[in-house]
Symmetry: C2
């Protein structure tokens, strides 16, 4: 079982009410991979510049994440800088420098093309589709997206929707993409465009998963304080997809529901410190412990 | 087992994007009572004016709600008018006329004073305390409140907190009362002021319940459309407290958690039409059906 993920590998500069970091390891493919590596074998597709610090790569290799698909291009690594205000619900972007990402054309190593699961993290939907064309009959295809592509490449995104099993997006994006204020209507409508399942991430309010007929929910892990929400969504997706892959890409509702809880637990670590700082100290028993809390939190044990 | 509830009995004029009603039956004690009457015997304390339509009273009596504690005073019934915009999350008040409520002094009939459960719906906390002084050793005391009392009578509210088992309030009120942006911190802080449990209502995002050590969650019922949210919070409290009372006022975490689900189901009916229009057609099997959906929605059945 293995997951191919394509997405950004970035150097993030982030400021929150609790402190700041410059040029810290980040990017959707990085958060996803690190989180998913607790459940499955991960193969990463992306690009960095010649300036990318080697220790960051070591840190991914230590989790046995395969980096054969990570191109190193002339130029600088993708950089994002932004900040959060006290409510921490919305990242305000100060600057995005695509750098080597601008001319990125994903090209999968041969060993990647037989992966049974593909996660298309948030990048241009045309690139997401280009990656899909390079894999042979994966059993599970999931994708994430963002407001930028919803406003600039909606048709590509809808084309992508017809080819994937699961779309993961946040509540604001679900409302924007569907044009519906009701999240229940939004999830159902997007689901009708193709994905068998739609996952709507709601930050402190947890997640919803829409199947053809049903809706499933998981609350957020009850942290007293969120330190830095950067990467929470990608870390969630890593736990969610990694767990599904570990379970043989089963998409029955019980497995999917359990996967929501794993994703939620992984995201709860990421937001406790900057960058991957907290994830680096996570051990499997920590995951188990938080999973138990989340289960008890969600339904009376006598049912 | 019986619940004494004190709160408003009102004539509401409401406008939503879907229509409007003038002088419809409303008020916190009314929504609470009607909802709780599916689980327990209800005794209502409140006041109406001579203008209050008799059919409204018949409708409550048909649910065997005891109205001996409902005073009829000279003057007009309490009136609230307001509207909701498309997001339906916040009621905008156009006009509040206290009328007979202005001089209301709750006075409990003798038969009410031995009730084993008291719900102090949203009224002036000084009146809530006055009601408490008139009951003999109830096993369960719960209260609701609103932003008005948090800004004008915070000390009375904190005094009330020391005498109750459960405080029910919405997310905005919890943040306002605690001064904390994090709902987890807010719930824990308020809980430390006295109530054994704090319930935070989050509208479309469901509810959280805080005990001394744990947090419990229930998602909102997945309605495609919310028609009119007026009374949802009081209907929730009715199902929640009514169920606890039915279970002998047990406050173990499993019973409380189950009660969250019952409250959520009852509220899901109220928001489907104006006033009590939808609640009037609810039968016990409807409640059971939605409860099953909510259970399945909340946790994988294989756990």
């Amino acid at each position: 079982m293995s997951v191919v993920v394509v997405g950004s590998v970035a150097l993030d500069s982030v400021k929150t009410p609790f402190g700041e970091r410059a040029n810290a390891l980040g990017g959707s493919a990085v958060y996803f991979s690190y989180s998913a590596s607790f459940f499955s074998d991960i193969k990463l597709v992306g690009v960095v510049g010649r300036d990318f610090p080697t220790p960051h790569l070591d840190l991914l290799r230590r989790r046995k994440i395969n980096l054969d698909g990570l191109q190193v291009a002339d130029g600088e690594t993708f950089r994002w800088s932004g900040f959060y205000e006290y409510d921490l619900n919305e990242a305000k972007t100060l600057d995005t420098r695509l750098n080597v990402f601008e001319k990125f054309s994903p090209n999968l190593p041969d060993a990647y093309r037989n992966a049974d699961c593909v996660f298309l993290a948030n990048i241009d939907p045309d690139l997401q589709i280009r990656v899909l064309r390079q894999v042979r009959r994966p059993k599970l295809i999931a994708a994430d997206t963002m407001n930028l592509w919803i406003s600039t490449k909606k048709e590509s995104l809808k084309a992508l929707c017809r080819e994937i099993d699961i779309l993961v997006l946040n509540d604001g994006e679900a409302r924007q993409l569907s044009g519906k204020a009701s999240l229940i209507q939004a999830g159902r409508l997007i689901q009708s465009w193709g994905p068998k399942f739609v996952v709507v991430k709601k930050g402190e309010h947890g997640v919803l998963l829409f199947s053809k007929k049903n809706v499933f929910a998981a609350p957020a892990y009850p942290l007293e304080e969120v330190f830095d929400p950067t990467g929470a969504g990608d870390t969630f997706a890593g736990g969610f997809i990694g767990y599904l892959n570990k379970k043989g890409n089963r998409l029955d509702e019980n497995t999917l529901h359990q996967a929501l809880f794993y994703g939620t637990v992984m995201a709860s670590f990421t937001v406790e410190k900057f960058s991957l700082e907290r994830l680096l100290t996570v051990r499997p028993p920590d995951i188990k412990r938080r999973l138990t809390v989340l289960h008890r939190m969600s339904r009376p044990s006598t049912l």
